[in-house]
C-alpha cells in the first residue's frame, strides 16, 4: 500500500471531496429543462402466454393502472411488483422485434436491435460475433442532449466476456454507430470514479491543474491536427482522429457532493479480483450488489447532470447467472429459460423451470424497483427524476424461446409530462422501432424515424401527451 500512498501524495494529500467535471461550455445550455432516461436491458425473456406457457408477467387487465388493481395481481404477475408506482407506469404489450428472423445467436440478435432497431451483421467469425448496424437510442440522446460531449453512461452487470470469440459476445446493447459498441463499465467503482474524476478542495490548486491540462490538451490537439492533415489516411482513420479530437475537452472542476462514503467503499471493495483471482464484479454472488450500485450511480449522474441517459445491461450475451431461490442455488438462468439442463434446445428438463424463470424475473423486477424508488426520491425544484425523466425495463427477447413477439416494455416516469402514464396499453403487434422513436420523443429528441431506414416510420402516438 506504500505505492498507493505515494501515488496519492504525489497530488498533494488525502482529503476527500468529490467534484463533478463540467465543461465550460455547459453554462450556455441551461435554458431547456433536461429530461433523463434510463434503459435497463435484461436477458432470456419473461414468462408470458405466447402459446403454451402461463401468463406470469403482464397485468391481468388492460387500461388504467391503479395501485390497488396491480396489488391484486402481485402473486402472479411480475409487473405488479411495482404497484406502488402505478400512476407513473406505462406498460406496453404487443411490441415486436423489428427484425424477427435471426442471422446470429438469438440472444445476440436481440441485443443488437434492442436499442438500435437495426439488424446485426451476419456472423462470419462465430455464432455470436454479430454487431448492430446503427446507433442506439441512448447514444442518440447523449449526442443531442448531454453536456460537454459525454457519451451515454453505459453500465453492465454480470459476467463479461469481452475479447471473446465465437459465442463469447459480451452482449453489447449501446452503439455509437454501425459495429461500434459503447464499451460498458462493469465495475461500479470505475464508473463512479470516471464521473467524479478529479477532486480538489482548493480552488487555486484546481486552477493550476486545469491550466496544466489545457496546455497538454493544446499539445495533443496540435498533434492530432497534424495527423489529420495527411491526405493518405483511410476513412476509418479519419473518423478515429475526428472522434479523438472531439473527445479532448478542457474541463473545469465543478464542486458537488459525492455518494455516501459507505456506498463508495462498497464500490471500491468490489473492484479488482478476489482471492481466487476472479474478477469480483463478474461473480454471481456479487450480482445483486453490482446492480444496486450501478443504479445508485445512475441516479447520482442524473442528479449532477453528468449524463442525461444511461443504459444498464444485466447479463452478457445471455444471462448464465445461477440465482439462489429459497436458499438453493439454481441451474444457470439461461438453462432455466430454455427449461432444460443445457444451453440449447436439448438436455434433461429442469423441474419447475417455468416457475423458476418467473421467480427470477420477479427478482429482476424488484431490482428495477430499487432504481425507480431511487429516481422517485431524487428531487430538485423541478420535481423528482420520475417527473423529469423515465426508466424503461426491457429484455433482449420476449420469452425463453427467443420469441420476437411481445417484448416486455415497462416504463416508469412521465418525462416532463410527455408520457401518458398510469396505463397498460395493448399496441397490437407493432415493430419496436416505433417504440424507440416514441421513447426518443419522450426524451425530448423528437423523431418518427429511428432505426434502420428500411423500417416503416411512426411512433406510438397514444403513449405521448
Amino acid at each position: 500500500m506504500k505505492t498507493r500512498r505515494r501515488f496519492l501524495q504525489g497530488l498533494g494529500g488525502a482529503t476527500l471531496a468529490l467534484p463533478a467535471l463540467q465543461c465550460w461550455e455547459s453554462k450556455a445550455q441551461a435554458a431547456t429543462k433536461p429530461t433523463y432516461a434510463v434503459f435497463v436491458v435484461t436477458c432470456n425473456g419473461v414468462v408470458q402466454n405466447l402459446g403454451t406457457e402461463p401468463e406470469l408477467f403482464w397485468p391481468s387487465k388492460a387500461g388504467q393502472l391503479t395501485s390497488a388493481g396491480m396489488a391484486a395481481d402481485q402473486a402472479t404477475r411480475a409487473t405488479a411488483l411495482l404497484s406502488r408506482h402505478a400512476s407513473r407506469m406505462l406498460i406496453v404489450r404487443g411490441v415486436d422485434q423489428a427484425f424477427r428472423t435471426p442471422k446470429s445467436c438469438a440472444h445476440t440478435w436481440g441485443d443488437n436491435q434492442c436499442l438500435t432497431a437495426t439488424p446485426g451483421t451476419e456472423d462470419k467469425e462465430g455464432p455470436a460475433s454479430s454487431l448492430a448496424q446503427g446507433e442506439s437510442v441512448d447514444n442518440r440522446i447523449a449526442r443531442e442532449k448531454n453536456v460537454g460531449g459525454r457519451g451515454p453512461l453505459t453500465l453492465h452487470a454480470g459476467f463479461n466476456s469481452t475479447g471473446g470469440k465465437g459465442y463469447g459476445s459480451p452482449g453489447y446493447v449501446s452503439y455509437k454507430g454501425p459495429s461500434q459498441p459503447n464499451s460498458p463499465d462493469s465495475s461500479p467503482w470505475t464508473a463512479y470514479m470516471r464521473i467524479v474524476g478529479l477532486a480538489a478542495s482548493d480552488p487555486a490548486l484546481a486552477k493550476a491543474i486545469a491550466t496544466r491540462r489545457k496546455s497538454v490538451n493544446d499539445f495533443v490537439r496540435e498533434q492530432l491536427k497534424r495527423l489529420q492533415s495527411r491526405t493518405d489516411l483511410s476513412g476509418d482513420d479519419r473518423r478515429r482522429l475526428d472522434a479523438h479530437l472531439s473527445s479532448v475537452r478542457d474541463l473545469e472542476l465543478g464542486m458537488t457532493s459525492g455518494l455516501a462514503p459507505e456506498v463508495v467503499k462498497e464500490m471500491q471493495d468490489l473492484d479488482g479480483k478476489d482471492v481466487n483471482m476472479r474478477v469480483k464484479v463478474h461473480l454471481d454472488a456479487n450480482r445483486a450488489k453490482v446492480v444496486r450500485l450501478h443504479m445508485d450511480i445512475i441516479a447520482f449522474a442524473f442528479a449532477g447532470d453528468v449524463s442525461r441517459v444511461a443504459t444498464l445491461k444485466i447479463g452478457d450475451n445471455n444471462d448464465g447467472m445461477r440465482f439462489v431461490l429459497d436458499g438453493v442455488e439454481q441451474p444457470s438462468f439461461h438453462m432455466i429459460s430454455h427449461r432444460v439442463l443445457s444451453d440449447g434446445g436439448s438436455g434433461d428438463p429442469i423441474p419447475d423451470a417455468v416457475q423458476k424463470h418467473a421467480r427470477i424475473v420477479r427478482v429482476l423486477m424488484e431490482q428495477f424497483g430499487y432504481l425507480v424508488d431511487k429516481m422517485a426520491a431524487t428531487s430538485s425544484a423541478d420535481g423528482s427524476l420520475l417527473d423529469r425523466g423515465f426508466a424503461v425495463w426491457t429484455n433482449q427477447v420476449a420469452n425463453g424461446n427467443h420469441d420476437a413477439r411481445n417484448l416486455p416494455y415497462v416504463i416508469v416516469g412521465s418525462a416532463n409530462g410527455r408520457l401518458k402514464t398510469g396505463r397498460f396499453v395493448e399496441a397490437g403487434g407493432v415493430p419496436h422501432n416505433k417504440m424507440l422513436s416514441t421513447l426518443l420523443t419522450a426524451a425530448d429528441v423528437a423523431t418518427d424515424s429511428f432505426g434502420d431506414p428500411s423500417l416503416a416510420k411512426g411512433t406510438l402516438s397514444d403513449l405521448l401527451v
Binding site: 498533494g12 462470419k124 455470436a128 470469440k165 490548486l205 475537452r249 444451453d343 424461446n401
Partner: protein
C-alpha cells in the same frame, strides 16, 4: 505560497485497486471469453442447422479466417495491454504501480488488437482515463527520485533548459519510437515551461517533468502506431525502419522497441530478413515476449472462462472456487513451456508434461504433491496429454454435475480447428425426460442420430465432445459413468485428412495434432495476431508454406520468426 497550498490542500485522483494486471496478462481486457452458458447447442427442428446460402452447406462447418484485424489503418491504437507495457518501459519502471488506474475496456470481439468492431478508438471516457492515468504516472515518477533520475541521460548539462532539452530528446525519441525534429523538441520545451507556470512556486524541473511525462503518455504519437512510410502517398509501401521496429516490438513483446532495437532501426539495420530475424530471435528470449505469448494464448484458449467454473458442492466436495487460480496457472505455465522449450504446436495437444501444485495434485490424484508452488510434473501419459485433458479445460466445459460434451466439442471445432458452426436453432421445444443411464446416452437421445439435432450435433459437435467422456465435470479421469463403462469412441469426418476414428481423447488429440486443420488454425491465429491485419487471398501462399513447416515439426518460436521475417510483415497494405 502555492507550494504551501499544494502541501496542505488536497487532490484526489481516481485510483482503483486494480492490482491484478501489472506485468501479467489479463488486465482490463478480460482475455478469452466465456466458455460457459450460451447457445451453442441446437436441436435443429426445421431450424437453421441446414444453413442457407453460402453459410454452412448442409449442416457443415464454416471455416473462418481466424481473426479479422484492422486492415487498412495507418494509425493502429495500442491495446490496453500494450499501452501499460509501453508506459512501464518508456518510464523504465520494473512494474507499473498497483494504483495505476484501469482504462475503459475496449469493445473488442476476438483478439484485443482486433479492430473489427472499430473498438480501438479513443472515446470521451477513454480519453479521460488516459488523462488520469498519465497524470497519475507523471506524479508517481516525479515523486520518486530514483525513477526520475533514470530518465535523465548521463552527462546531461545542469542548467534548466539544456537539461530539459536533453531529457525531452531522449524521452520523446522513445515515446514516438523515432528521431524527433528540433521543432518537436521546441514544442515540448514550451510545454515543459508551462508546467512551472501552472504550478508557480514548485521546482521548475519537477513541474516540467510532470507535465512532459503526462503529455507524452497522452500524445497521439504514443497512443497510436503511425505507419506512414517515407511520406509517400502510394497505396502500399514498405515501412520505415523505425516503423518496422515498432511493429516488430509490439507484435512480439506487446510493448515499445527496447533500446537495442531502436538503435538498430536508427542505423538502418533492419533491412534484410537475416537482420530482422536476429533481432526477433533476441527479443523472443525476453520476459516481455513470453508475457506476450501468454497473452495471446490466454485469449485464444479462453483461459479467463475458467473463472466461471462452478460445481455442485454435494457431488464434488473436493472442488471449490479456490482451485480457479491453479487451473489458470497450470494452463499458463504449460503453454509458456511449450514455447520456451522450442516445441511444435502439436505439443499443446499431446504433451503430458504439465505444472502442478498441491490443489491440482489432489485433483489429478498424484501421490506426491509438490511441497510448495508449482512443479513441472509428468502426468500419467495413459490418461493425460495436452491442454484438452487438463482440468481447467475439462472443468470449464462441463456443467455443475456432468461433463458437457457439447461445449467441449464446440470449443475444439471453433478454437482448435477454426471451424465455425452454424447458428443455433430457434424455438426448439424441450425434450421429455430420457431415463437414460450415462451422460453420453442422455446427450445422444436429444441430439444424436435420428433426432432433430442429427445434422449438426451428430457429426460436427458431439463426437469431438464424447471423446472426453473419460473425464468427469471436475476433470478427473473415469472409466465408469453412473456404474456403466464410459464410451469415448467415435469418428469425426471434417478433417482435411478424412475420417478420424478414435477410442478415446488421447486417440482423438493424436489425430488432431497431425491434422492440417489444427496447424492451419493455430498458425493462422498467430498470423492474425502478429500481422495485426486481415488475412488476404495473397497471404494464403505464405500461410500454407508456414503450415507445412508446422506440420513438419517446426517449433512455435520458429513459426513466429518465419511470420515476422516474411516480406509481407514489413509492408503496409491498405
Amino acid at each position: 505560497m502555492l507550494n504551501q497550498v499544494f502541501r496542505t490542500l488536497s487532490v484526489l485522483f481516481a485510483l482503483t485497486s486494480f492490482d491484478a494486471c501489472i506485468g501479467r496478462v489479463g488486465g482490463e481486457v478480460e482475455g478469452g471469453d466465456n466458455g460457459g452458458d450460451d447457445d451453442r447447442v441446437q436441436g435443429g427442428v426445421g431450424g437453421r442447422s441446414g444453413g442457407t446460402g453460402g453459410k454452412a452447406g448442409a449442416g457443415g462447418t464454416h471455416v473462418t479466417t481466424p481473426s479479422t484485424i484492422a486492415s487498412a489503418s495507418r494509425l493502429p491504437r495500442l491495446t490496453h495491454f500494450q499501452y501499460r507495457n509501453a508506459v512501464r518501459d518508456l518510464l523504465r519502471l520494473p512494474t507499473l504501480p498497483t494504483a495505476a488506474i484501469s482504462l475503459q475496456a475496449d469493445a473488442v470481439l476476438g483478439f484485443d488488437n482486433n479492430n473489427r468492431g472499430k473498438a480501438l478508438d479513443v472515446s470521451f471516457e477513454l480519453r479521460a482515463d488516459y488523462e488520469r492515468f498519465a497524470e497519475g504516472m507523471a506524479s508517481y515518477v516525479v515523486n520518486d527520485k530514483a525513477a526520475l533520475s533514470r530518465l535523465i541521460p548521463q552527462g546531461a548539462p545542469s542548467d534548466l533548459e539544456s537539461k530539459a532539452r536533453s531529457v525531452i530528446t531522449s524521452l520523446a525519441t522513445r515515446a514516438y519510437r523515432r528521431p524527433v525534429s528540433t521543432a518537436e523538441v521546441d514544442e515540448l520545451w514550451r510545454l515543459f515551461q508551462a508546467g512551472g507556470t501552472a504550478f508557480n512556486g514548485r521546482d521548475p524541473f519537477a513541474a516540467g517533468m510532470e507535465i512532459l511525462i503526462g503529455a507524452l503518455l497522452q500524445s497521439p504519437l504514443f497512443l497510436y502506431r503511425p505507419e506512414l512510410g517515407e511520406g509517400s502517398n502510394e497505396a502500399a509501401f514498405v515501412l520505415t525502419q523505425n516503423e518496422l521496429a515498432t511493429r516488430l516490438a509490439f507484435a512480439l513483446t506487446d510493448s515499445m522497441p527496447d533500446d537495442q532495437l531502436l538503435a538498430a532501426a536508427q542505423q538502418g539495420k533492419l533491412k534484410s530478413s537475416a537482420e530482422i530475424r536476429a533481432e526477433a530471435q533476441r527479443m523472443l528470449t525476453t520476459p516481455a515476449a513470453r508475457e506476450s505469448a501468454q497473452h495471446f494464448h490466454e485469449q485464444l484458449f479462453r483461459i479467463t472462462s475458467f473463472e466461471k467454473v462452478s460445481k455442485d458442492s454435494k457431488v464434488f466436495p473436493s472442488f471449490s472456487a479456490s482451485a480457479v487460480p491453479s487451473l489458470k496457472e497450470e494452463a499458463r505455465l504449460f503453454l509458456d513451456d511449450v514455447v520456451a522449450t522450442d516445441q511444435n504446436p502439436s505439443a499443446i495437444l499431446l504433451s503430458s508434461t504439465s505444472f502442478v501444485d498441491k490443489t491440482l495434485a489432489g485433483l489429478y490424484g498424484l501421490a506426491t504433491p509438490p511441497a510448495e508452488g508449482f512443479a513441472k510434473t509428468e502426468l500419467n501419459a495413459k490418461e493425460r496429454g495436452g491442454l484438452l485433458t487438463q482440468i481447467g479445460f475439462l472443468a470449464a466445459n462441463a456443467g455443475a454435475i456432468d461433463p458437457d460434451p457439447i461445449h467441449r466439442g464446440v470449443f475444439i471445432s471453433e478454437v482448435l480447428l477454426c471451424k465455425t458452426l452454424p447458428p443455433p436453432a430457434m424455438n426448439v421445444p424441450p425434450v421429455p425426460a430420457s431415463g437414460r443411464t450415462t451422460n453420453r446416452q442422455r446427450v445422444e437421445a436429444h441430439t444424436g442420430k435420428g433426432t432433430c439435432g442429427a445434422t449438426c450435433h451428430a457429426t460436427l459437435i458431439n463426437p469431438l465432445g464424447y471423446a472426453f467422456e473419460g473425464y468427469d465435470a471436475i476433470g478427473r479421469f473415469r472409466t465408469k459413468d453412473n456404474g456403466v463403462s464410459v464410451d469415448s469412441s467415435g469418428s469425426y469426418s471434417e478433417l482435411t485428412e478424412g475420417e478420424a476414428n478414435f477410442q478415446n481423447a488421447l486417440d482423438l488429440t493424436q489425430n488432431l495434432s497431425q491434422s492440417r486443420d489444427f496447424h492451419a488454425c493455430y498458425v493462422g491465429n498467430w498470423m492474425a495476431y502478429l500481422w495485426s491485419r486481415t488475412q488476404r487471398d495473397e497471404d494464403q501462399e505464405a500461410l500454407s508454406a508456414i503450415v507445412d513447416s508446422s506440420l513438419e515439426g517446426a517449433s512455435v518460436k520458429e513459426l513466429l520468426l518465419t511470420l515476422v521475417t516474411h516480406p509481407s510483415f514489413a509492408r503496409f497494405v491498405p
